[in-house]
Symmetry: C2
Subunit: 218 residues, 2 copies
Amino acid sequence: MTSTSFAPPPDRARLRSHPERAVQDIDFLHEVLNEALLCHVAFAMEGQPFVLPMAYAYRDRRVYLHGSVQSRTLRHLAEGHPACIALTLLDGLVLARSGLYHSMNYRSLTLFGWAERVDDEGEKTWALEAFVERLFPGRQAELRPTSATEQRATLVIAFQIEEFSGKRRAGGPKDPPADLDWPCWAGELPLRLQSQQARRAESCPGEAPPPLLRSPAG
Amino acid sequence: MTSTSFAPPPDRARLRSHPERAVQDIDFLHEVLNEALLCHVAFAMEGQPFVLPMAYAYRDRRVYLHGSVQSRTLRHLAEGHPACIALTLLDGLVLARSGLYHSMNYRSLTLFGWAERVDDEGEKTWALEAFVERLFPGRQAELRPTSATEQRATLVIAFQIEEFSGKRRAGGPKDPPADLDWPCWAGELPLRLQSQQARRAESCPGEAPPPLLRSPAG
């Protein structure tokens, strides 16, 4: 897949503020989709916007979401209404010499598209395994297999990325020159989502160590 | 403020899936609003949903957002269209014995309401300081004050929370009893957003230590 397989940013994906932060390449798209643990899915019902955090899996230009077949949200999305997905990696806080020059370092994606129900059993099985496998590679093989009944009770939808807008800010503050002598601390406070000591379930007597979360959060 | 100052959850805020995870009390609202570093703001323009990450400040029932007076997004929101804000704290990953019982631990809010432009200079000044002050208490007093010109070029809007839906999952996996003997690791992998070694700006020669990020991320 090359960047030319996506349309150039049209009006809805064009960055108006801080255009210097725009990142439109496919490598950046993959980087954020690989690293984020959840996404925020937005849609509108009768003019009311909704936004919800969801786990996801990704392949090619499709972002997979799943839930109960009774999920009102997934069923609405599967009707193909326009939707929008945000993925945001907060990399740090930027401390400047004045309040309005404070900022955040981040890598973010806004994806525009629409979703459809995944009926192909092979694609559905792949997606359901990918939700776990993308975080804990190799774990699927150790799990009790999903039953046909469970799979039938689960709705998987695929959000087709029609366009995307990537944005990145990195580095320290960008104070105006006249502020550089102001006597306060200035710089960047990096942030990282880190895994802590794993807690084994009481019902799990095994000696095996917990699986490792795929980096970089691991 | 008591919980009765908010309407009971109406249809748009009612949780249909996992109603046992619902948390509607004001303490939970404040906990998440105090701890989150950014929010995701959703709105619709001509039927197209958008969702964007933004910094925020909070007081009473108002979530403050800010940006350039030229911001298309803020100007649209300030017109009072229905909007929705998500705040999500990812607390951990839950590893079960089968794929579909895997889950995430989190505390989340979905806020429903509408925004208006903040024209009152006192409220605007408070909000602009709160964006920094809520993360680094005491820092505002050390900063070069915001100029009148800067403040005029900045649009602050207040999103009025009309209703909210809180959701929390905590603890280990909830495998069905028949799965408890399955020989794989099961439990919880807690996650925490942690600040790393601060990076002083090259232009900042001072000896003072960097300000501390207010817990719990700090």
